[in-house]
C-alpha cells in the first residue's frame, strides 16, 4: 500500500520568552492511503503541533514531511495551500466554520476554490449526507455544536480528500453527539477511502483506528499497530 503521509526525523522548536521550547523531537511515522491513524498523548505533548506540521500549516525546523507525494519543505505557503485544497480535509475541535457564511456556503468553499461548476448541488448532497439538508441556509450561530461539527465534516469531505486531519473532533461535544460524529467520520472514511489522522485525548476513539502513536514531551512513546 502506498504512503499518503511520511514523516521522517521531524523536530520543531518554538521560542518562548527567553527560552527555546523543543516541542517535537525526531518524530517519524507513516500513514497508508485509506488508513485511520490516531495521535494521542497528554496536553502539551506536541499532538496539535504535529498535526499542523503534517498538514503544512506550519514549517519544520528539521526532518521531512511527504504529503501526497509532495515534500512540504519544497513548497511555499501558497503551494501548500493548493496541496491542501486538492488533497486534504480538516475537522477542528471548535468547528472553525466561517461565521459570516451559511452552512451550505461553508461546505462549498473548498469546491469553489477548485473551480467546481456545480458546487452548490454537491454541497447540498453533502449536507443531506450528514443530515442537515434542511439547515443549509442557516448561519453557524444558528446551529448547535453537533450540527456545526456535521457541517464541518461535510466541508472536510467536499473535495473527496486523500487525507483528513481531525483535531479533537469530539472534544467540544457531549458523549452522544460525539459518538454520532465519530461514526459519521469513519463512515465517510470507508465510503471515500480517505485516510484519517486524528488527534485525540480519547483513548476509546484511538482504539477504533488502524494505527496510533502516543506522544510524550515531543517524542513517540509508543506505536500501536
Amino acid at each position: 500500500m502506498s504512503k499518503i503521509l511520511k514523516v521522517q526525523n521531524l523536530s520543531k522548536t518554538y521560542r518562548s520568552g527567553e527560552h527555546d521550547l523543543n516541542v517535537l523531537n525526531n518524530v517519524s511515522f507513516e500513514v497508508d492511503r485509506g488508513e485511520t491513524f490516531a495521535i494521542v498523548g497528554p496536553s502539551g505533548s506536541g499532538k496539535t503541533t504535529l498535526l499542523g506540521l503534517c498538514a503544512g500549516l506550519d514549517t519544520t525546523d528539521a526532518g521531512e514531511i511527504w504529503l501526497c507525494d509532495h515534500n512540504l519543505f519544497d513548497l511555499d505557503e501558497d503551494g501548500r495551500a493548493r496541496l491542501r485544497n486538492e488533497n486534504v480535509g480538516f475537522v477542528f475541535q471548535d468547528f472553525q466554520l466561517l461565521p459570516t457564511l451559511t452552512a451550505l456556503e461553508n461546505v462549498i468553499v473548498p469546491l469553489e476554490l477548485r473551480g467546481v461548476k456545480n458546487a452548490s448541488e454537491q454541497g447540498k448532497e453533502l449536507l443531506a449526507k450528514v443530515g442537515l439538508k434542511e439547515r443549509s441556509g442557516h448561519y453557524p450561530s444558528q446551529l448547535s455544536g453537533g450540527e456545526q461539527q456535521r457541517v464541518a465534516l461535510a466541508r472536510a469531505f467536499a473535495n473527496k480528500p486523500s487525507i483528513l486531519f481531525a483535531d479533537e473532533p469530539t472534544g467540544n461535544l457531549d458523549d452522544e453527539t460525539g459518538t454520532k460524529i465519530e461514526d459519521l467520520l469513519f463512515e465517510l472514511n470507508k465510503e471515500q477511502g480517505t485516510a484519517l489522522v486524528i488527534v485525540t485525548h480519547d483513548l476509546d476513539l484511538a482504539k477504533k483506528t488502524d494505527k496510533s502513536i502516543r506522544l510524550r514531551s515531543g517524542k513517540i512513546e509508543e506505536t500501536v499497530a
Binding site: L57, A81, L83, N85, F90, L101, T102, V109, E112, Y139
Partner: protein, 845 residues
C-alpha cells in the same frame, strides 16, 4: 498539483457573502465615504456650474458685448477709437450720491446710473411693474426694489438727486452691471442719461465712471480686439472690458472661495478615510480566524487578501455613488445659503463629470486608506485554526512606506488639482500633515503617559476606564484624530470669521468715527463743519484730498514704462487716479516701516512723500526714489521719504500716498470729513439735513456697512460652517464605526466582568468615563490647535494680535465632548441590557 481555479467572480461572491453578514460595520464605512465624497463633489460641482452659468450669461451680466470705460471724460483720441468702432451704442455715467425722497423723510447713498435708451442690449432690466423698464426714456427713475420697500416708496413718488427731482417709474429688481454686494451699500438708481448734467453732481473730486457700451457682430473676435486696443486705451486712462473678460474676472472671484470650500470638503473626506483605515484594522483583526480557515481550506494569500480588497473597493464605489447623489441635493442648498451673493441663478444638474469624480474619489480614497490594514491578511497563518499564534510579523517596511507615500502623493495631487497652485497644494498637505502628526503625537503621548503614571491607587471603575484607553485595539488614536480635526476646523473657521469682523469693527470710543462725509467741495468745508457741530455732533477729522496720477517713476515716464515689456510695475500704478491727502502726522492705522516721516515742508521741489508698502511694491520704488505726479495738469517732483504699513481693513479713510503739509494746500481739492453720531436717529437727522443743504456730499454710514459686512460674512460663514459641520458628521460616522467595530471586544470584556460580579451601572460608568475623556481630549486638542493656527493666520495674513474668543472653549468644546459621550454610552447600552451569556452568544453571530 495545479493552480486553484477560482476567478474574479468567486472573489466577488465571497466578498458579498462575507459583506452581507457584516453589513452593519460596512455600512458605517460606506456612510463615512458617502459624507466625505458628498462634501467634495457638492462644492466642486457647484463651483463648476457657477462658472459655466457666469460664462453662459456673460453678455447679460455686462448688458453688452464690450464696454470702454474711464473715470474721467474721455479725450479726443479715445473718442476717435470709439468712432472707428462704429460709435458707442449706449452711454452711461455713474457715481455715488445721496438721494432724498421728498415726502418720506429719508436719504440714502445710492449709485446713480444715467443710461441711454436701449441699454441693456442683452439680459433685461427686471422691474416691477414690468412695463417700468420701458418708461426710463420717458423721464422716470427706476429705484432699487429694497430701497423702495425700506422707504415705503410707490410708483409715482419722487426721488431727488442733486438738483433734479424725478418721478419714480418702478422698482428695479435686477440690472446688468450692478453687483448685489456693492448694491447693498449704494443701491442702484437708473435715470435717463440726459438728466445727469442737470443733477449738478458731476463736480471736482466726484468719483465718476464713464462707460460706452458696444454691440458686436457675431464674427468679431473680442479677444483680439481687447489685445489690440488695451495698450492704446491704457495710455489714455481708459479700459476695455469684453463680456468674456468680465465673466472670467467674476468667475475668478468666486473660484477662490470655491477652492477654499473644496479644501474644507476634502478634509472631511480625509477624515472619513482615517476612519476607514482604523475601522478596517479592527475589521481585519476580527476576520483573522476566518482568513486562517480559508487558508486551511486552500485559499492563497492573494485570494484571502483580494476578498477584503474587493469588499472595500465595492464600498468605495457605493460610497462614491451615494456621495454624488447626496451632493446633488446639497447643491440645492447653496443658493439658499449664499442668497444674493451669487451673481447668476445656478441651475443644478447631476453631471456625468460629477459622477466620475465622486466614484473615482470614493474608490481611490477607500482603497488607499484600507491598503495598510488589509496587508495584515497576508500574514495570517493557517495555524491560527489550531491554536492562538503570536501576532504575525510586522508588515513589510517597503510596502508600508509605499502605501504612506501613495497616500501623501494622492492627497497632494488632488489638492493641486483643486487649487491649481503647486505651492498652495504643498502648504495645504504640509499643514494637514502637521495637524495629523500633532494629534497622533498627542494621542500616543497621552497613552504613554497614562501607562507610565497610571494611578494604581484609584478605585476599580476609573482604573478600568483608563486602561481601556491604552489596551490593545483601543480607540484613542482614531477618535482623538477625527474629533480633533473636526473641532480644529470648526474652531479655526470661527476664529477667522471673528478676526475679520473685529478688524473691520468700529472701535467704540468717542474718538472713532462712525460716519464719513465725502465729496465736500473746498468752499463747503467750513459750512458743512459748522452744520454738523451745530447739531451737537463733533467733527473728528477734516481730510483734504487732491487727485493726481503718477507721471514718472525713477525718472522713467509712465508711457515708457507701459511700452517696456520687461517692466514689473503694476498697471494700477500707471492708470489709477490717486486720491492723496496731506498732513503733518501719522494716523493710528499706519506705521513707518522704512525711511523717516516728514510732516511739514516749505518748498515744493522734491517733496518728501510717504507711500504705502503696497504702492512701493507695485511701483517698484523704495526710500530715496523719485516719483513725478501729475497734479491736475501740473507736474510735481517728489521723493519717497518713507514707506508705511497701512491697516486697510479698518473702516476709516486710508491713503496710498501722503504728502507733508505745506505743499498741496493751494491745489484744487475737496474734502472728506468724519464724525460720530450717537444713535440711528441722530444719524438719520444729520443725513437729511446735510443732503438738503449740500446735495453733492455723499455720506457713508459705517455702522450700516459693518452690518452689511456682518451679513456677508454671516452668509459665507454659513456655507463654511455647513462644510465644517460635514467634518463633524463624518467624525460622528467614524466615531460610530470605531465604537461598532470594537463592540465585540467591549461586549466580551463587559460580559466577563459581569460574570465576575460587576454590575451594569459600573460597566456603564467605565464606558462613560472613557468616552468623556476621549471626547474632551480630541475636542480640546482641536480647539488648542485652532488657537495656534489662528494665531499664525493673525500674524502672517491679518497682521494683528489674536485674542481668542471664549465661544469655542465654552460652547464647541463641551458640545463635542457631550456628543462623543452620548454616542459612546448610547451605543454601549446593549452591552449591559442582556445577560452575559446572551451577550457572548449573540456576539458570536
Amino acid at each position: 498539483m495545479g493552480k486553484n481555479n477560482t476567478g474574479f467572480s468567486w472573489l466577488l461572491k465571497m466578498a458579498w457573502r462575507d459583506g452581507k453578514a457584516s453589513y452593519g460595520k460596512l455600512l458605517l464605512f460606506v456612510f463615512s465615504i458617502t459624507l466625505g465624497v458628498a462634501a467634495v463633489v457638492s462644492v466642486h460641482s457647484f463651483s463648476r456650474l457657477l462658472k459655466e452659468n457666469i460664462a453662459s450669461q456673460s453678455k447679460a451680466l455686462l448688458g453688452a458685448d464690450y464696454v470702454i470705460e474711464s473715470n474721467k471724460p474721455v479725450n479726443d483720441k479715445v473718442m476717435g477709437i470709439m468712432d472707428s468702432l462704429g460709435g458707442a451704442d449706449a452711454r452711461e455715467i455713474n457715481f455715488s450720491s445721496m438721494a432724498a425722497f421728498p415726502g418720506h423723510n429719508g436719504t440714502k447713498l445710492v449709485e446713480v446710473r444715467g443710461v441711454d435708451d436701449g441699454f441693456p442690449f442683452y439680459g433685461a432690466l427686471e422691474t416691477k411693474p414690468v412695463s417700468a423698464a420701458h418708461n426710463l426714456s420717458t423721464g422716470r427713475a427706476l429705484v432699487d426694489a429694497t430701497t423702495m420697500l425700506q422707504f415705503n416708496l410707490k410708483v409715482g413718488d419722487s426721488i431727488k438727486l442733486g438738483a433734479v427731482t424725478l418721478p419714480i417709474g418702478g422698482a428695479l429688481e435686477n440690472v446688468p452691471g450692478s453687483t448685489s454686494v456693492f448694491g447693498a451699500i449704494a443701491p442702484p438708481v437708473l435715470i435717463p442719461f440726459r438728466y445727469i448734467e442737470a443733477t449738478g453732481l458731476v463736480q471736482t473730486g466726484s468719483r465718476i465712471d464713464y462707460k460706452y457700451y458696444f454691440k458686436a457682430d457675431e464674427s468679431q473676435d473680442l479677444t483680439l480686439l481687447n489685445e489690440t486696443l488695451e495698450p492704446v486705451l491704457d495710455a489714455e486712462d481708459a479700459d476695455l472690458d469684453t463680456h468674456l473678460s468680465e465673466a472670467r474676472r467674476l468667475g475668478r472671484r468666486y473660484e477662490n472661495f470655491g477652492k477654499f470650500l473644496n479644501l474644507v470638503g476634502f478634509i472631511a473626506l480625509l477624515l472619513g478615510c482615517v476612519g476607514i483605515a482604523s475601522g478596517m484594522g479592527i475589521y481585519v483583526q476580527m476576520k483573522v480566524k476566518s482568513i486562517a480557515v480559508l487558508k486551511c481550506l486552500g485559499a492563497t494569500k492573494r485570494q484571502s487578501y483580494l476578498i477584503f480588497f474587493v469588499q472595500i473597493a465595492c464600498m468605495g464605489i457605493i460610497g462614491g455613488l451615494l456621495g454624488t447623489t447626496l451632493a446633488y441635493f446639497l447643491q440645492q442648498l447653496f443658493p439658499l445659503l449664499l442668497g444674493d451673493l451669487l451673481p447668476v441663478e445656478v441651475g443644478i444638474t447631476l453631471s456625468f463629470q460629477s459622477m466620475v469624480l465622486g466614484i473615482s474619489l470614493g474608490l481611490a480614497m477607500s482603497i488607499l486608506f484600507a491598503l495598510y490594514p488589509l496587508m495584515k491578511t497576508l500574514y495570517v497563518s493557517p495555524l491560527q485554526t489550531l491554536r492562538v499564534v503570536q501576532e504575525p510579523q510586522s508588515r513589510s517596511k517597503w510596502a508600508t512606506t509605499a502605501v504612506g507615500l501613495g497616500i501623501v502623493l494622492f492627497v497632494f495631487c488632488f489638492s493641486f488639482w483643486l487649487l491649481g497652485d503647486f505651492m498652495r497644494a504643498l502648504f495645504f498637505v504640509l499643514g494637514l500633515l502637521v495637524v495629523f502628526l500633532v494629534l497622533t503625537g498627542i494621542a500616543r503621548l497621552f497613552m504613554g503617559m497614562l501607562k507610565k503614571f497610571f494611578p494604581h491607587s484609584w478605585s476599580f471603575i476609573p482604573r478600568q476606564s483608563l486602561r481601556n484607553l491604552f489596551r490593545p485595539q483601543n480607540q484613542t488614536l482614531v477618535l482623538v484624530l477625527s474629533i480633533g480635526i473636526g473641532t480644529f476646523l470648526i474652531s479655526t473657521l470661527y476664529f477667522t470669521k471673528d478676526m475679520l469682523l473685529e478688524k473691520a469693527a468700529i472701535e467704540d470710543s468717542a474718538n472713532s468715527a462712525n460716519m464719513i462725509l465725502m465729496d465736500i467741495q473746498s468752499q463747503q468745508v467750513e459750512v458743512v463743519s459748522q452744520t454738523i457741530e451745530a447739531s451737537g455732533i463733533p467733527v473728528i477729522d477734516k481730510i483734504p484730498i487732491v487727485t493726481m496720477r503718477v507721471a514718472a517713476l525713477n525718472g522713467k515716464p509712465v508711457e515708457a514704462i507701459r511700452k517696456d515689456t520687461t517692466s514689473q510695475v503694476g498697471r494700477w500704478i500707471l492708470n489709477h487716479e490717486f486720491r492723496v491727502t496731506y498732513r503733518d502726522s501719522l494716523i493710528r492705522s499706519e506705521r513707518i516701516i522704512a525711511g523717516d516721516w516728514v510732516g511739514k515742508v516749505d518748498s515744493d521741489t522734491d517733496v518728501p512723500i510717504s507711500v504705502s508698502n503696497s504702492f512701493a511694491d507695485m511701483a517698484k520704488v523704495t526710500v530715496g526714489d523719485p516719483v513725478v505726479f501729475n497734479v491736475q495738469g501740473r507736474l510735481m517732483n517728489t521723493v519717497v521719504q518713507s514707506v508705511r504699513e497701512v491697516d486697510w481693513n479698518r473702516l476709516q479713510p486710508n491713503f496710498s500716498v501722503v504728502f507733508p503739509a505745506g505743499v498741496l494746500e493751494k491745489a484744487p481739492q475737496f474734502g472728506v470729513m468724519t464724525t460720530r453720531t450717537k444713535d440711528d436717529l441722530g444719524s438719520a437727522q444729520l443725513q437729511q439735513q446735510l443732503v438738503a443743504q449740500f446735495p453733492n456730499v455723499s455720506i457713508l454710514d459705517l455702522k450700516r456697512i459693518l452690518n452689511l459686512l456682518e451679513d456677508i460674512l454671516g452668509k459665507i460663514g454659513w456655507v463654511i460652517n455647513f462644510m465644517a459641520f460635514f467634518s463633524i458628521f463624518v467624525g460622528v460616522a467614524v466615531l460610530m464605526g470605531a465604537i461598532y467595530s470594537s463592540k465585540h471586544q467591549r461586549v466580551k470584556q463587559s460580559a466577563l466582568l459581569r460574570t465576575l460580579g460587576a454590575q451594569g451601572h459600573q460597566i456603564l460608568q467605565m464606558i462613560a468615563i472613557e468616552y468623556a475623556i476621549l471626547g474632551f481630549l480630541g475636542a480640546f486638542m482641536g480647539v488648542v490647535l485652532a488657537v495656534l493656527g489662528s494665531s499664525l493666520l493673525a500674524y502672517i495674513l491679518f497682521d494683528t494680535t489674536f485674542a481668542p474668543s471664549w465661544i469655542p472653549f465654552a460652547i464647541i468644546l463641551p458640545a463635542i465632548t457631550l456628543l462623543v459621550f452620548a454616542l459612546g454610552v448610547g451605543n454601549s447600552i446593549g452591552v449591559i441590557r442582556n445577560s452575559p451569556l446572551t451577550v457572548l452568544k449573540k456576539e458570536k453571530e
